[in-house]
Amino acid sequence: MVVSVTISIIVISSVYSIGSGAAHKLETIMKNFGFGADAIIIISGPPISKHFNVKQLSLTDQDADDIKMVNGVSGTSAGIFFKEYNLKYKSNIILTGVQGGQSNWAKVRHWGVSQGRFFDRNDVIKRLKVCVIGATVAKQLFNTKSVFGRFININNHYFKIIGVLSKKGALGKFDVDNIAIIPYTTFRTLLYHTRYFAYIKVDVKDGSNMNSVIKTITYILRKNHNLHKDRISDFKIIKPSQIIEAVTKANYALTMFLVIIAGISMIVSGVVIMNMMLSYIEKKKYEIAVKKSFGATRKDIIKEIALTGSLIGLISAIIGLVITFSISLSIGGLLPFDMYVGPRVVLFSTFFSLLIGFLFSLVPAYRASKIQPARILS
């Protein structure tokens, strides 16, 4: 009885843990890039467009300043990007995404520098031709430890490297260290003439107020952009949960399918429990008859049998979860993320297992309560 329910618990909790682990890993990575539960990103372009289009830029300096003043916002960082450029140093070339950012660009992304410094407010105001590069760019172009003070060619303009960002690693197939950031004022002057921002990253003081902040920002931007109520917005506001949902959507269907299969196996296990308990009661009918002869009511008998069934469920859940946890430790290195055996998995597995044990012992319990002692003990 215990084995059948245990196997179902192992399947359910393993499947759920793998899914949770993947989502958990993604959340951690995003938080690592400053896009945790207390951040949103506003992107130029209407919500219906799937891809960024530089011709649909709509976010202004005024927007960035107004958003900073919203109650609940702890900070903003606006930026502009256009396309990838070939960064050149002597004979070395690398194709890199170049962004124009504000002086707090690295700070809001929790991204430190391994060499030199990030550009400051003064650099931005003066539109200096300075540049901070990612670890991949530094390695590809220079292959030496120190790049501070060297000059690279971006779109036929020479930029002085004043800092190298710390290594962050890959985000899936995307190498986030293949990046270069220059002051947005310099970007607008030299690389792409625009008075707009492509995005504004917003840090929220309290993630639980997220929706209220989003509502206020939406109102401000629509007002600033003179959008009447029946016109769609010319910007998109994205929460981290939407990204995680989009990425894990494909896995979700498979996870749910496997959970349904495991659920069906739990029901089959329940039927096994019921049949084995019916057989158990047949063997124990003398004992039940004696209990009734000494004053056990039908309710007492039902409670005892149902409790036995529930205990079987509970023991199965404990064994199943211990095995799942062991699996998560032993195969951890084989997966790109950890199997996350969190509280939700434990609670769900325990509750469902208890429920199956209880429900499928009710029929045997009822049968046992109907035993007539006089017939059995004759």
Partner: protein, 233 residues
């Protein structure tokens, strides 16, 4: 011994009806049992003595007739009410003992207390006292399947008395015992009787029956003879 009727059976009839056949087992039994009385029921097999015992002990209800227990009609009580009365009024001793083999002596003895619905009592002291009285103090934590037949029946007697039963019902209590153990059990019954407990015993053995105050003989589902015993005290 009190003269007020403890148990009164008035024209008790019992039939077992299946889709194919109807079996009339008791055909009109009239019997009064006084408090503190020691009664034996004797009959050949199939004459209804066990059925009568079950009705007296509220394990079964009569098909027709009236059963008065302490002057209250219990013929039409529901299952829960019958269970409550069985727990507090009656204690059963069976020929086959019916102990829970994998449980200890103490657990077996305390079984009826699990279903006691009255105010909380410490039954474990009473259990120890009774087990000592029946020379089982060294076997308290032995499993039931580690005991001899005589020891098992003594445990069954303690179990029957743990809730301070007013009436002990014994169905062939010595049927599975050797002579020495049988005599031991009968001596215990004599002691229990001397303390005022009513005893109703089904037996085939006339030597055992002679220890009781009265012997009821049954034939064809009715009481055919009543013998007042000259040996009982």
């Amino acid at each position: 011994m009190s003269n007020s009727p403890f148990i009164q059976l008035i024209d008790i009839k019992k039939s077992f009806i299946t889709p194919k056949v109807r079996t009339d087992v008791l055909m009109g039994v009239n019997l009064s049992i006084n408090k503190g009385e020691y009664l034996s029921i004797m009959a050949p097999s199939g004459m209804g003595k066990t059925t009568l015992m079950h009705i007296i002990g509220l394990l079964d209800l009569p098909t027709t007739g009236k059963y008065l227990l302490n002057n209250k009609n219990v013929s039409h009580l529901n299952d829960n009410q019958l269970s409550l009365l069985r727990n507090t009024v009656f204690g059963f001793v069976f020929q086959q003992f019916f102990l829970i083999e994998q449980a200890t002596v103490m657990d077996n003895v305390l079984l009826p207390t699990m279903y006691y619905k009255g105010s909380k009592k410490d039954f474990s002291h009473r259990a120890q006292y009774l087990l000592e009285k029946l020379n089982l103090q060294d076997r308290m934590y032995y499993k039931a399947n580690e005991l001899s037949g005589g020891q098992k029946q003594r445990v069954a007697i303690v179990r029957a008395l743990i809730n301070d039963a007013q009436c002990l019902l014994a169905d062939e209590p010595t049927g599975n015992l050797d002579t020495a153990s049988s005599l031991e059990v009968m001596d215990i019954f004599d002691n229990i009787h001397s303390l005022g407990t009513t005893i109703v015993m089904v037996t085939h053995d006339m030597q055992m029956a002679k220890r009781s105050d009265r012997i009821i003989e049954m034939k064809d589902g009715v009481i055919s003879n009543i013998i007042e015993s000259t040996i009982s005290s």
